[in-house]
């Protein structure tokens, strides 16, 4: 991840939101695109460009996250185990809440915490709400109609076979519930991942009982993503270099993509053999030791206490208010 062979020319848009070690050109572009394509905006562009953009976006996100994780801030000072545990507690609390107001208040609190954790609030809001309207908002919209969520019609729209059709109060509540809950959940996860270096997050997973082997695999996989990403970028860059004119989306293009996947699998297979030999040569016997040990400080205990109280307030407040 330390080198990138083909830097893009700096874009002449506004400067990056934060000045860290991340190059400015990496910080531009869309955030929170779903790598599976199911929620992403489908802009027209050749598959080569898009894959290259995707890999640059991946690096951008990772470097940006590591940047923020190293800044001085509220959440950065907390033990990663405490953060991970509190994430799970708060996510469960968010999942059982049935009141929109409670969810929105909790969401406002995440903004405050983000501000004190050196996370640019504008970016933080954008990151969450770029995702929520694209996927959740549009998907949930038809569910407000009485076709899908029957109930008390508050905005009648038309009649169909003698039955009035319209937006029901139940539908509106359901849509509001799901949108605010998804926004809160994503905010919580983004807060954790932006303020915690990945290595520490892994160590926290380990100390919370995830098997050692699984954590080791995840940690190594994380490293090789960037090595193999270099191979992928090389293959696509050279494809672009060989192409004269517009890239066509034809059979040859699809053959290229699957051949790339095949070549990548071949390379990774050879790589895993070499890594294995290197590990054996260095004395790997199947046992793993962690270099870093965490110290659970008083501040962490206090933080956990605050989180538990917050979760209790969310759940109890929800029960008090009702729906």
């Amino acid at each position: 991840m330390t080198t990138l062979d083909t830097p893009r020319p700096p874009a002449d848009e506004a400067p990056a939101p934060i000045a860290g070690k991340t190059p400015a050109w990496l910080l531009q572009g869309e955030m929170a695109m779903c790598p599976c394509g199911c929620i992403g905006k489908r802009k027209k562009g050749s598959f080569v460009e898009k894959t290259l953009d995707g890999s640059a976006g991946l690096l951008r996100q990772v470097m940006f996250g590591e940047d923020i994780a190293e800044r001085p801030g509220l959440l950065q000072r907390i033990d990663p185990r405490a953060k991970l545990l509190s994430l799970i507690i708060l996510l469960i609390a968010a999942a059982v809440v049935r009141n929109i107001v409670v969810l929105l208040v909790a969401y406002a609190f995440t903004l405050v915490v983000a501000y004190f954790s050196a996370v640019p609030v504008g970016f933080f809001i954008k990151r969450v709400w770029l995702f929520v309207p694209i996927f959740t908002g549009i998907v949930v919209l038809p569910a407000t109609l009485s076709f899908i969520t029957p109930g008390e019609i508050v905005i009648p729209l038309w009649t169909w076979q003698g039955q009035p059709v319209g937006i029901t109060s139940q539908g509106l509540t359901a849509a509001g519930l799901i949108v605010s809950r998804v926004a809160l959940s994503i905010s919580l996860v983004v807060l954790l991942t932006l303020t915690t270096p990945w290595v520490e997050l892994l160590a926290a997973l380990r100390s919370l009982g995830v098997p050692k082997m699984f954590v080791l695999i995840v940690g190594m996989a994380y490293r090789y993503i960037f090595l193999l990403l270099g191979s992928v970028t090389d293959m696509y860059e050279s494809r672009r270099a060989r192409t004269v004119g517009a890239v066509k989306h034809d059979k040859a293009a699809r053959e290229f993509v699957s051949s790339t996947a095949g070549a990548l699998l071949g390379k990774s297979h050879a790589l895993s053999e070499e890594v294995h030999q290197a590990m054996i040569a260095r004395g790997f016997r199947g046992d793993v030791k962690a270099l870093k040990t965490f110290a659970f400080t008083r501040a962490d205990a206090f933080y956990m206490l605050v989180v538990v109280i917050a979760a209790a307030v969310i759940v109890l407040g929800d029960q008090q208010l009702g729906r």
């Binding site: 996510l91 999942a95 569910a143 899908i148 139940q170 509540t173 359901a174 809950r181 998804v182 989306h249």
Partner: protein, 370 residues
Amino acid sequence: MHIPDGYLSPATCIAGYAVAVPMIIIASKKVQETVKVRNVPTLAVLAAVAFLIMMFNVPIPDGTTAHAVGAVLIAILLGPWAAVIAVSVALLFQALLFGDGGVLVYGVNVTNMAIIMPFVGYAIYKLIAGDSHLTSPRRVVAAGVAGYVGLNVAALATAIELGIQPDLFHTADGTPLYAPYHLAQTIPAMMLAHLVVAGFVEGIICAGTVAYLQRANLPLLQVNHKDVPLTEAEAALRVKKRISPWLVGGIAVGIMVLLTPLGLLAPGGAFGEDAPDELPLGDLGLNAVPEGMARLNGFWNSAVLNGYDFGGDAPVLGYLISAVVGILIVGGFVVVLVWGINKVARKPAATDPSNTDDAAHADDAGSRTG
């Protein structure tokens, strides 16, 4: 297909983890047996590849692109258990690093994309590839169909998980607490996109990669195809193995058994199958239950498990026990019937390999029961 947090109830999330965690543990044991200490680097690199394959933009004819999941491809190349680990790790990255797919619903996402998808795809691949040689075009077709079917079954599972939410979790006035769409809406919505576009993308990646490896990297293809003959000539030398009709029948029944709980969710009955009173008389233009129907209903009232129930305090348990008893009785009846047919219609000395499949199958079945 990545479900974010907030769409599923906590109960569904727990169910997802209840499936995913044991499967991941079994998978790591299975993989450990096959690749020994090598498993750590192999699985790590594989997980990285699984993550990157999900990033590939596959060009589709309308000028746009779509993404593949790659679970079936890894299952074909290194076995379904390796695919479970690799895709689970890739999903963990997506959930924790990129906020794609939730943390609480991680177990459900793993169940759909890292368990259901590779196993279904791999089964289809094995079924279609049969005993063809490693370089045959049939394996390319098999990989393509496996990718298509695997992705669509995973999408169907996702649709079911989302679709049961409003029926199971709602407030007193009918406001859905989680995902608001019913099965009747989620299944068509998910399946349309996946049957028409995403399934083909997955199939193209699977078929294309297998075709590429056939001409460029046979050793990699041989990792999970150890005893498969390389060429047609080599295949001709081997003795052919047939799929046992017992196995196929058993799998089909097994799938139906797993689907039985869906019956608990179905509202009402078609054509008043439970009782004539449930007939929607008004819709049918009738004034009363037809006379013959009323007379013959109740003709047989002494069934042992009447209404799939013991009349006890636990109707669901009674329903499930009735299901098991029913399966055993019907299964036993079929076995006896087949055995009897074989006894009556047994052909003398059917050992010639040039026999038709039917005769061989009947013989096979007969020799096991008789």
